[in-house]
């Protein structure tokens, strides 16, 4: 036990000698969380739109003003012909182009239905659908207002409306549709992975590279003491990060926290065990820190980010790949974290994920420990 304490103490001493690393490890998660928290928004605003006004009447200018005045759109330029909008769309300066045909003002005045062309840049299909939707609603509201005015002035001229469906949409768990509420709990999981797995892997490989690992292998230190001694400091750092990031998420970004904090801590511990085991495993297949870094980034970090459901929903992936995602611990932890933060559900519903994490961690730990022998066979 005393030997173990010595090992952990030494690890912290070394970390302290490298203040930049220490700083990075504490500050980086905070910076990244802040970055992500503010970036992750599907709140569509200031969509750049270019207008080709073929009409140039007060009516058309009115419509343009409606667009410009709305929070959603910003009219970046007004041109005359439709061909001129090409270059705006090609350079991405505008996402949407609105073409108001000549004679628009006249038609509206006479109560004659008129159709406007709206061109959307499909190369950014996510934002496009949303922006297009907003444009349609905006025009629809504008049309309704115009129709109401027209009806007030000349009842016979205005077109009638059908009852239709009063369609109400209620959003659960995230009624303001704040993307960040979805992303930030995910970031906690991601950051833990990056910090603990990588740091642990590189720390061990570093000793391999420098030769001090051999020195440790010659001492009576037991294998488990060596492993725990190397991993424990990074586990502690990981947990500190969890606390920091959770505090930031709840108090600064006001992400709701509807579940149990103890459960979060407990499952974080499970998860950290998984990431540390992963780090240990990576260290057993790498001889240099560069190899450790490449292996970690290419074969573990990046796939885990993309395939865990962090940003891209798993249900959209091809079946074969969905099966693969069952192997990613981040997937389970994401469900847990999001469940605790946003839905306030407890262990009674989350136990499958917790069990999966436990199993994954145990297997990886066994694998990694088996590979890290004090003696080369």
């Amino acid at each position: 036990m005393q030997r173990l304490r010595r090992l952990v103490w030494k690890e912290f001493l070394e970390l302290r000698q490298d203040p930049r690393l220490f700083g990075l490890v504490i500050m980086a998660p905070i910076i990244q969380l802040t970055m992500l928290g503010y970036a992750a928004t599907t709140d569509v605003k200031d969509v750049p739109i270019v207008v080709a006004d073929g009409d140039r009447t007060p009516a058309s200018r009115n419509l343009i003003a409606r667009f410009d005045g709305s929070r959603t759109f910003t009219v970046i330029d007004t041109v005359t012909t439709v061909t001129e909008v090409d270059r705006f769309l090609q350079t991405g300066e505008a996402w949407i182009a609105l073409a108001i045909p000549s004679g628009y003002g006249r038609s509206v005045q006479d109560g004659q239905p008129v159709s406007l062309q709206v061109v959307a840049d499909g190369s950014d299909s996510n934002s496009t659908t949303v922006a297009l939707g907003y444009a349609t609603s905006l025009v629809g509201e504008y049309a309704a207002a115009l129709t109401a005015d027209l009806r007030a002035a000349r009842p016979q001229a205005a077109p009638a409306a059908a009852p239709g469906i009063d369609f109400r949409i209620r959003v659960w768990f995230n009624s303001q549709l704040e993307s960040r509420f979805f992303m930030i709990p995910g970031v906690i999981a991601l950051l833990l992975l990056i910090v603990t797995a990588n740091l642990a892997a590189m720390a061990i490989v570093r000793e391999k590279e420098l030769g001090t690992l051999e020195q440790l292998n010659v001492t009576p230190l037991r294998r488990w003491e060596l492993i725990v001694g190397k991993l424990l400091p990074y586990g502690l750092i990981g947990l500190i990060d969890v606390l920091l990031v959770t505090a930031l998420a709840v108090f600064w970004f006001e992400v709701p926290f509807r579940g149990s904090f103890t459960l979060l801590l407990a499952t974080s511990l499970l998860y950290v065990m998984c990431t540390l085991s992963l780090g240990l495993f990576i260290s057993t297949v790498s001889d240099t820190q560069q190899q450790a870094m490449m292996t970690a980034t290419f074969f573990f970090l990046t796939p885990m980010i993309y395939l865990s459901g962090f940003i891209f929903p798993i249900e959209n992936m091809p079946r074969a790949i969905q099966y693969v995602t069952y192997l990613i611990p981040l997937r389970y932890f994401l469900v847990i974290v999001r469940g605790i933060f946003l839905k306030g559900i407890g262990l009674d519903l989350l136990w499958p994920q917790a069990a999966a994490l436990g199993a994954w961690g145990a297997v990886m730990l066994l694998l990694a420990v088996a590979r890290s022998r004090k003696r080369i066979a």
Partner: protein
Amino acid sequence: MAVDTAGAAPTISVRDLTRRFGKFVAVDRVTFDVARGEIFGFLGSNGAGKSTTIRMLCGLLVPTSGTALVGGVDVTSDPEAVKRRIGYMSQRFSLYALLTVDQNIRFFGGVYGLVAAKLADRRRFVIEMAGLAGREHTLARDLAGGWRQRLALGCAILHEPAILFLDEPTGGVDPLSRRQFWRLIDALSHAGVTVLVTTHYLDEAERCHRVALIHAGRLAALGTPAETKQVFAGRPILEIRAGRPVEAMRLLDAQPEVEKTSLFGTAVHAVLRDTAVTPQAIGDRLRDAGIPLDGVTTVTPSLEDVFLDVIDRENARQGAR
């Protein structure tokens, strides 16, 4: 500097120790004993198998075959018990660069289970032995080569092991520090510590009680330095200091009585096949050929001569197969 080994069982006992890496045989049936308190030198060129052998004896590598008993413990079956009894200093002086002298000592002391008074005691000993008084709070990476080396040695003996394995301990260190280091090893040997040291500095090897020469994984020579030099019994070595050494060498090679020649610094060493011809005669021949001569003397063989001779013979043997 003879060691009294009468009656006592050897501290290290190696029999037919072999290690293969795939088809490559790194250590080939090496057999030797080391007595208590002996300074045993393991000589050989790089890649000859020295480090591999030491690693096996320390329990870092599993032998492919053969046995080794270190401190009475079988290395293959109980490596952990071995580790308790030994100290190890690796080629790269494995200290923690980012820790201070004091912190390194505390760390290794703690790892070996030294606490409180005992640790303080040993700490004082090591600091004094290494001459690091006043430098306790210097970072290990800021120490000059010689000090780092002595600190590494100190950390290896904190737990007072009976056996010490030193793998190329004096690499890249100035001659003065090297001499200081060997004085420490002598002191340890006097105190009864068995030291097995690998080196390719053949002048240091002269200070060992016994040496083993390893070449291509095989034990090519074993004995006290004097014993190993017996290979030159009846084959005197001449040292020729000539004005044009390369030309001199060529001429000497042409002489029938000369077995081989090699350059030693600016002088030429020539091994004669027997005692038939005198040094003066050889010198005359050179002078007759017009080569300016400073002198020709018979020298006692150095371990370097022995080493080169052994390698030649080993290579010849290999070639003959």
